[in-house]
């Protein structure tokens, strides 16, 4: 390797060592476990080859939870990434009290999952919850949210949007680095606000958008805590990770659950690779 290459490698080395020491062994163990019938507390562990995977593909619960998760991901990811970006741009201006706004919009991201879920159970309560209460003031009878199969997905989308402010730190960090000279020359060319945003801000932010998109994909598919606490009528709240968790810790079928995990891994990897491939077309790097 050339000298410059070697230096780069040394900068990355700490993480590689950490990977080898802390991550690799458990991951390899997880590969093996997926081919066994390990029950966590059992003293016998048997090799079953592909039996877990075969059982998974025949399982109605698997396909159902995959569909629920996929459908949620497809809608929520673009929605949240877009909203997050818009909020960040709005909060990047030095308007009055912007510091306070930034904290307020970021706050949803600082609470841990269970407490939030419990609060949302109240917010979405069909009879006494906040949303339906406000709707009733303007004469609308709110839906039964988590108790109505058709409204479970919207309920979870609302919860995701509430947390959309979580990305603002990433954008704000980078937004202030956009050279003002670019905006100034655009002004001189007579560009309006929307044009400036679209042709200067967005391209400069694409690396950060890329980050939030990948993270968004991973977290959407791995959605767990609120789905586990809140569920949803008609099985509409049975996300993939909830199914996995049940198999692992309620039925002690860790081998099966691990196989489920690897399938999810492959699915997430698939979408990530696609986005990564398109990277050179839209992510702007200096």
């Amino acid at each position: 390797m050339k000298n410059r290459e070697k230096i780069g490698f040394y900068f990355v080395l700490p993480w590689i060592i950490g990977l080898l020491v802390f991550t690799l062994v458990p991951m390899i163990a997880a590969v093996f476990i997926g081919f066994t019938d390990w029950s966590i507390v059992g003293s016998n562990i048997r090799w079953v080859g592909l039996a877990n995977y075969q059982e998974i593909f025949k399982s109605e619960q698997f396909w159902h939870s995959l569909w629920i998760t996929f459908r949620f991901a497809i809608i929520s990811i673009p929605l949240v990434v877009f909203t997050s970006f818009v909020i960040s741009v709005m909060l990047s201006k030095n308007i009055k009290a912007v510091g306070v706004y930034r904290i307020i919009y970021y706050m949803p991201a600082i609470v841990s999952g269970v407490a939030v879920s419990i609060v949302f159970r109240w917010i979405l309560d069909p009879n006494n919850g906040l949303i339906n209460l406000v709707l009733s003031w303007i004469g609308i009878k709110g839906p039964n949210w988590l108790y109505d199969p058709e409204w479970v997905l919207p309920s979870y989308l609302i919860m995701s949007l509430w947390g959309a402010g979580g990305g603002i730190l990433t954008y704000l960090s980078a937004l202030k680095d956009v050279p003002t000279s670019l905006y100034e020359s655009a002004d001189m060319d007579g560009a309006n606000y929307l044009q400036k945003t679209f042709y200067i801000t967005v391209p400069m932010m694409t690396p950060i958008i890329f980050y939030n998109l990948i993270i968004g994909i991973i977290s959407a598919f791995r959605k767990f805590t609120d789905a586990y606490v809140l569920g949803g009528a008609g099985g509409e709240g049975e996300f993939y990770m909830v199914h996995l968790y049940e198999q692992a810790f309620a039925h002690y079928k860790m081998g099966y659950a691990t196989a489920l995990a690897w399938i999810l891994f492959i699915i997430i990897m698939f979408f990530t690779v696609i986005v990564n491939i398109t990277r050179k077309y839209w992510v702007h790097t200096e």
């Binding site: 070697k6 062994v25 407490a115 980078a174 200096e286």
Partner: protein, 289 residues
Amino acid sequence: MTTQTVKAEKKAYFRKQATKGVILHVLLILGSIVMLLPFFWMVSTSLKTEPEIITANMSFFPKGFHVANYRRAFEIIPIFRYMANTVLIAILKIFGEVFISAAVAFGFARFNFKGKNVVFMILLATMMLPYEVTMIPTFIIWSSLGLTDNYTPLILPAYFGSASFIFFLKMYFETFPKDYEESALIDGANHLQIFVRIFIPLAKPALITIALWAFMGTWNDLLGQLIYINDPVKYTIQLGLASFNSLSGEILWGPLMAASFIALVPIIAILLYAQKYFIEGVKMTGIKG
């Protein structure tokens, strides 16, 4: 153009800006109310008496200021001790996590070594496998080293960088123009100096961001801390909050909301302190613009 029309145009322009400003503020305020509502309900519940909570009348405002819940919360768990424990873990972690992650991200962002893309994909891959399935093998490894009921398994891995932080910083560094290094290299600086003297200071808001994330991650990590800590003396704040369930499964809502709110205060305080780094004006370095 006469001065009168210029003045009139200026007035019209400012009025338009003012209306835009008002609209913006109205939107932001409405959004703020939505964002804050759950927190308000949390505080409101913490101030309700037990009968009020039990009868689930769901009213927004408590009937009075029933601070007994807060007193009760402190009786049930030593909140401050648990917060101190958590802060200890967090600080020890942040130190390693932030700087090592930055160094690794620098390596990914600015160099092209053989196999870099593969290594980067592996980095992303480590974020994709649900930890539920690696959790027990990892525990078995630490346990065989005798490191259970111990903070070490929670802290040590941080000193090798954290995948999502590395990912973010890599993308962040990629927004820096290459001219920074070019001129420094010409001046004879080596890469380590460039990293420490140029990138780190410029990346302050991003570093603050991940320090914040690292802190929040520790503050909110229930499962990891549950698995590795046994002795209640060593409990963290999340384990403390989990202690509000009774044997029969009924939750003590009032004290729990009180304790949850108290647990939020340090994070909000840190946020308040950190956000000023995001308001700073653009640094004039002579290379930009």
